[in-house]
Every structure is written in C-alpha cells, then in structure tokens.
Symmetry: C2
Subunit: 341 residues, 2 copies
C-alpha cells in the first residue's frame, strides 16, 4: 500500500469537522452499519414514539484500554454496559445514542470493527441506534477511541428494583463468576500469561433478566457489579436500603485463573469489574424459582445464593470467610484497576 | 499550599474507579451542584415520567480547546449545544445526561467552574440533569476534559421542522451574526489580538424559538449553524428537502472583527461555527411576523431574511455575491476549524 493510500485509511481531523468528510464517514460507514428509519432521518435530534409509562435513561462513557481484549472490544462493551444499566432499572432497552471521540490516525478498519461489534449487540437485543455524534481530536489528545452511549428503555410495569429496596430476610443471588472482565482486560494490557485463556464476560443481560422480571415482578433489587466489583455493588445496596448484608465467601464463584491473577497482582476479586453478571435481591420465597430460571439461561448457569440481607448494622457488609472468620467489606478505594471499562 | 494539599485539589485516577473516591466526587461536588429528585436516586438509570407524545433524543460530545474561552466554557457549550439540538427538532428540552471524561491532574476548581456553568444553563431553562458518569484517564491520554451530553425533550404537538420540510417559495431567516463562536475560540487558542473583544454567542435558543414555534407552528425547518457554519446548515436543508436555496451575501451579518480574523486566517465566515444562532425556513406569509417576534428577543435582535427556497437545482445553494455575481456554496471540506465544539 502506498503512503497516500495508507493515510486514506486513517481517521483525519476533517472527519470531525462537520463538512464533507464528516458526511462521507456518516454515509459510507456509520449508516451502512446502523441504518434504521429513526437514525436515517439525520436531523439534529431523533424523534421517538414511546409508549406511555415511565422511561429509564442512562449514560456511560467507555475508555477501556486496550480497545480490543479477549472476549470483546470497546464497541461491545459500550453497547452492553449501557443496556445493562437500563435492565438494572427493570427496563426493556429500546434506543441507544452513540458519541464517538476519535484520535486522529485511528485506522478506519478498527473503527469499523468496533462499530460492527456494537451493532451486533443492538441487533441481538432489538435496540435501535437513534442518534449519534463524531468528534476527532489530534494525535496524543485522546487514546485511540472513547465512546459514550446513552440508553432509553421502557420500565416494566409493577417492577421496582432500585438499590434502595432490599429488606431484611431477603436472599442475595449472584448470576456467575467474579472478576472475568477486569482480569481479561488487565491480562491483555499487562501481557500476563494466565494458566488458561480467560475471556471477558461482557454481555447484555436482558435475555437473562427480562423473563425473570416478568415472572417474578416482586424482585427487590438488581445491580450489575461493574466498576468496583461485587464489593461496590453490595455496599451500594446496603447503604441505599439502610440494611446489613452478609456474604458467604465459600459461595462466591471465582475462576482459578482469575484468583491466580488477583493473587499475583494483589487485587481482591470482589473488587474487580464484571460486565455480564448481576446481583439479585429477592424475598426468600422467590429465591428457588429465581435460581432455577437463572440457571436455565446460558448467561446464568453458575447462579447461586451468596448471602442474605439482615437488619443491621445498616450500611455494613460482612463477609463470612472460608476459614470461619468475618471481615467487613468496604467500598473499594484507590485506583485498583483503571480503564477496565 | 504544600505539595500534598495541591495534589488533593487535582483529579486522580481513583476518582473514576467506581469506589470511595468516585463516591466522594459525586457527593461532594456533582450532587451539590446538580441536586434534584431524579438524579439523587443514584440508580444505574434514571426513571423519568414523560408525557404522552413523541420524544426528541440527541447526543453530542464536546472537545473544545481551550476549555475556557471568551463568552463561555466547555460546560456552557455542552449544555447549550445539546439543548439546541432538541429545540431544532421543535422540542422543549426536559432532561440532560452528563458523561465526563477527565484527564488525571485536572484542577478540581476547573471542574467545579465548568459544572457550575453547565448547571446555570439547566436552571435557566428548567431542565433536569437526570443521569451521569465520570471516567478518568491518565495524563496525556485525553485533553483536560471531554464532555458528552445527551438530551431528551417533548416534541411540540403539530410542529414538524425537520430539514426535509423546506418548500419552494419559503423564506430563509437567520437570527444573528455569523462566526462569533468559532472566531472567539480560535482567537483565544491562537492568541490572536482582535480589533475589539469578541465573545462566543453560545446560548440556549429555547427562549428565542419556543414562543415562535408556539405562535407559528407552520414553520418549515429549524437548523442551528454549528460545525460547518451556515454553509453546512443550508446545504443540509437543500439536500434533505431536494430544493434549491438562494442566499444574498449582502444580507449576511458578520461582525467586522470576525470578518477581519477570517481574512487573516483564510477562513470563510459562512463555514465558521455558531452556537447561539438558528436558520428558520417558513412560508413567505409567516416571515414578517416571525422576524418581528425574533427581533423582540435579546438573542434575535439582528434577525433578518437572508434568502429564499427555490425549486432547483435540487440540493444546490447559490450565493448572490455583493458584487452582483453568483457562486455555488458547497459543504465545507477539510479541517477548517478543529475543536471549536
């Protein structure tokens, strides 16, 4: 390939300037991948016909480094992460926005691969890309690509699964192994050689949790243990609901390669990010049926009951250790694992 | 100030890690500035009660450099820019999301100033910040601060002002001078000394255009001439509506200091960004009343009729020059003015 041809396959500042090259990028790449009647109108805003009833609205920016990692990439992450935030509100995902910040020199082939990953999730989940924006910054002024997605979903009627709804006596369920996403990204970034290949768990949880919410609208809380891991998710629930939580360490599923990497790096697997897992709080009577339903879905096969909600001390999470001791689980502090999402 | 104290006043990676420091930033800065019942729930998604009828949904990322400029900053821009995209769909702005990407080392005082600017616009326009997210990347991996905002608004009933709605015979109005924002940002960035101080026109246009849309729901198109300037906005309308457009150069208001800077830099003022102006296309009979209403508002005092929609050639914009000639106005190409929004 000649130098000129190679240059033509890279993102240039003009792709973000709002003129001819912006229009070409939109027509020749973005609309080819995401074409749908709402997006194709190309007005300053999308016009959405939404059903009556409350809407869920959320936003997240993605700065993961590296942008391609075992089991996914920043595009798949930017779709699943935001859709999952809707699901955690008991909402069916409907529309996504896409804000791209591209570094000059990003290969167009990388962008295409990332957008195709994102689009594959939207197709699978029947979600429309409604609106978007592309900015380009000079070399060294961003890190290849940052993505913001905002999501809109329809709240399921009669469902209220906010973090503030846990009650003493409730069962605490977890839908699978801990730390896979964080360690998969970190091992790629740091060039760690794990005992066996580990992939990120990044996945949209509507397929797993939508039917559960419809069958058991009495569930009390849903939360996905992303940044800050399980520790941050359960601390949030304990604080928001003003309850205590007891977790049994021996029930917490962690893959041996994740545990090994955590030991090597001095990380607590309970504080490492997941991108395809959920914490479910439900009345104890709902737990058997919930576990049965979760385990019947490919994303929930390893679901299990990991603890209980107790009256107090309010806001405190106690971990019953494997050795029979107890330790207080706190909101993780410090940098821990930067840029895993 | 000791080195330690100085360090405590800067953004650190831990502020984006989802643990204790993230919570502190949220509680001690963000919620203090934006506190409202929707945001304060702090769940993974906001839950919105929306009225029946179509919603407008839009997103934009802001990467302006410098982040403080005469007449505004990236915070004011990130509020006004996105709210204006809703207004251009004929929608009343209601909710905003806020996605922050911060560079390690950003002074907390700068962040506070930017968020206060953004919050001031929301208060003025009666818009709620519904949801947000903060990521932090290492030094040199972003340029101080990038902001994404997505907006939701209620489409006014009976209003349809898409770019595709212009019809031959319609009048083309412009609400004020061209190029103020782009040249204000550029002059700050390049250290240009202008004849007189120039400030960005960045402003939310709901106050100017909301009453107009309610009084004259028969308006045909609204578009704000941001990136790519007036040239991109009118080319968009001509292409989307498959009509021709004739503009009269002598009617285009450009401040002498903007014209001077453009001449110096080899820029076309018609291709320079505005952040507080609108192009209005309306039936010719509505033009006098529309101009009267626009001129009665502080943001529209210099409104004027700048041209007409004609049958063809479809997609073409012709500029009738001051000297009596004609030139074809094309979608701007190339980098022109990077990072002005």
């Amino acid at each position: 390939m000649s130098g000129q041809a190679a240059k033509e396959n890279l993102i240039r500042l003009a792709h973000g300037a709002g003129g001819l090259e912006s229009q070409q990028l939109l027509q020749e790449l973005i609309l080819k991948i995401f074409s749908n009647p709402v997006l194709n109108a190309l007005d300053d805003s999308a016009r959405l016909e939404t059903p009556p009833g409350p809407l869920a609205f959320t936003t997240d920016s993605y700065v993961v480094d590296p942008i391609f990692f075992p089991g996914g990439d920043i595009g798949r992450l930017a779709a699943c992460g935001t859709l999952n935030d809707l699901v955690m509100q008991g909402a069916r995902p409907r529309y996504l926005s896409l804000g791209l910040i591209l570094e000059e020199g990003l290969p167009l082939a990388d962008l295409e691969k990332i957008l195709n990953s994102l689009a594959a999730v939207l197709r699978e989940e029947d979600v429309l890309l409604a609106t978007g924006d592309t900015k380009v910054v000079g070399r060294g002024q961003a890190n290849r690509i940052f993505i913001n997605t905002s999501g809109l979903g329809d709240c399921l009627p009669g469902v209220d699964v906010r973090a503030a709804n846990a009650r003493p006596g409730d069962a605490l369920l977890l839908t699978g192994t801990l730390g896979d996403h964080g360690i998969a990204v970190l091992s790629q970034r740091e060039g760690l050689r794990l005992q066996s290949p580990l992939t990120s768990d990044v996945a949209c949880l509507w397929g797993l949790l939508g039917p559960l919410l419809q069958a058991l609208p009495t569930l009390h809380c849903l939360r996905d243990p992303t940044r800050g891991g399980l520790a941050a998710a359960v601390c949030d629930i304990a604080q928001a609901s003003r309850v205590g939580i007891r977790l049994r360490e021996k029930e917490l599923p962690v893959k041996p390669e994740v545990l090994g990497a955590c030991n090597l790096l001095g990380l607590d697997p309970l504080a490492v990010a997941n991108e395809g897992k959920a914490v479910v709080v439900c009345p104890p009577g709902d737990a058997p049926r919930a576990l049965e339903m979760l385990r019947a879905h490919p994303l929930g096969r390893e679901s299990r009951r990991i603890g209980e909600i107790v009256a107090g001390p309010a806001g405190q999470v106690v971990l019953e250790t494997r050795l029979g001791g107890e330790r207080l689980l706190e909101l993780p502090a410090g940098e821990n694992l930067p840029r895993i999402c």
